[in-house]
C-alpha cells in the first residue's frame, strides 16, 4: 500500500486528521492552479475550499487507479471555471486553435531568470504578463510549465486533447515571452 492509498483509506473512514494531511499535501498545487486561472485571491481561496470539500465528500467515488493530485487538479480546474462563469468575465475558453502568433520582440534578455528574480519588479512584471493571457492559456501554462505535469495528465485535467493542450501551452509561452521581452530586453 502506498502512502497515497493509506491517505485515501483514512479519508474514506472519515479520519479527522486525514483531512489535514490532504490539505497539507495538496494545497499549494490547488491554490496555484486556482489563482493562476482566476487571478484573484478571494476567488482562489473560495475555489480551494470548494475543491477540498468536494474531494472529501466524493472520496468514495475516487478511482484507485487514478492519481489523487490529477483528480484534485481536475476538480480545481472545473471549480475555477465555474467561478469565472459566474463572474461573467471574458470567455475562458476562446477559440485558440486558429491564428498564428509571430514573435516581434527579438532582442536577447540582459539577465538570467535567477538574477531577474532577485528584483521585486520582476515578480510584478510576470504577474502583469500572466494576467493578460486568457484564463485557459494561463491554466495550460501553470499546469505544464509551473507544475510540470506530463502532457497526458494536463489534457486529462482540462478535459481537452493533448494537441489542444500543447497549442495552448505554446501560445501562452510565446505571449508571455513577448510581454516580458518588452521589459527585460537588453536595451539602454
Amino acid at each position: 500500500m502506498t502512502e497515497e492509498d493509506t491517505l485515501i483509506e483514512r479519508l474514506r473512514k472519515k479520519d479527522e486528521t486525514a483531512f489535514k494531511d490532504l490539505f497539507e499535501l495538496h494545497i499549494d498545487h490547488v491554490y496555484r492552479l486556482a489563482y493562476g486561472i482566476l487571478q484573484n485571491e478571494d476567488d482562489a481561496e473560495e475555489t480551494a475550499q470548494q475543491t477540498f470539500i468536494a474531494a472529501y465528500r466524493a472520496i468514495d467515488r475516487f478511482e484507485p487507479k487514478a492519481k489523487l493530485s490529477t483528480w484534485l487538479y481536475r476538480i480545481t480546474y472545473n471549480n475555477a471555471l465555474n467561478i469565472l462563469h459566474q463572474r461573467k468575465q471574458n470567455d475562458p475558453l476562446p477559440d485558440d486553435e486558429s491564428e498564428r502568433f509571430i514573435p516581434s520582440s527579438l532582442i536577447d534578455w540582459r539577465f538570467e531568470p535567477e538574477q531577474l528574480l532577485l528584483e521585486e519588479e520582476t515578480h510584478l512584471q510576470l504577474e502583469k504578463a500572466i494576467s493578460t493571457l486568457p484564463p485557459a492559456m494561463r491554466a495550460a501554462f501553470i499546469l505544464r510549465d509551473v507544475e510540470q505535469i506530463p502532457i497526458h495528465e494536463c489534457a486529462d485535467i482540462q478535459n481537452i486533447s493533448e494537441t489542444l493542450c500543447k497549442t495552448r501551452t505554446h501560445r501562452a509561452r510565446l505571449l508571455l515571452r513577448e510581454r516580458l521581452s518588452e521589459y527585460f530586453s537588453e536595451r539602454k
Partner: protein, 82 residues
C-alpha cells in the same frame, strides 16, 4: 525550415517532442538564424522564470488562515449531514 515553421515548432523543440528529422532541421535553422535563436533562448527563460517565481509554497500565515477557513466550512458541512 522557415522562421514561421520554427516558431510553430518551438515548444515541441523545447519539450524534445520533434522527430529526429524535424529536430535536425530546427537545429540547422537555429544555427543560422539569430532571430529564432533569440526567440528560443527567451522562451526558455520565460518558462524558467515562470516556474521559479510561481512554484512556491503558500506563506505560513496564509496557509493557516486558509486551513482555518476550510476546517470551519468542513465542519459546517459534516454537521448538516455531509
Amino acid at each position: 525550415m522557415t522562421c514561421t515553421e520554427l516558431i510553430e515548432y518551438l515548444s515541441q523543440y523545447i519539450d524534445q517532442e520533434l522527430d529526429t528529422e524535424l529536430e535536425k532541421a530546427a537545429q540547422e535553422h537555429l544555427a543560422s538564424c539569430r532571430n529564432c535563436s533569440v526567440a528560443l533562448d527567451t522562451t526558455k527563460k520565460t518558462i524558467t522564470l515562470g516556474r521559479l517565481a510561481l512554484a512556491k509554497p503558500l506563506a505560513g500565515a496564509k496557509r493557516e488562515k486558509l486551513y482555518g477557513r476550510l476546517k470551519q466550512a468542513f465542519e459546517d458541512q459534516t454537521k448538516t449531514g455531509g
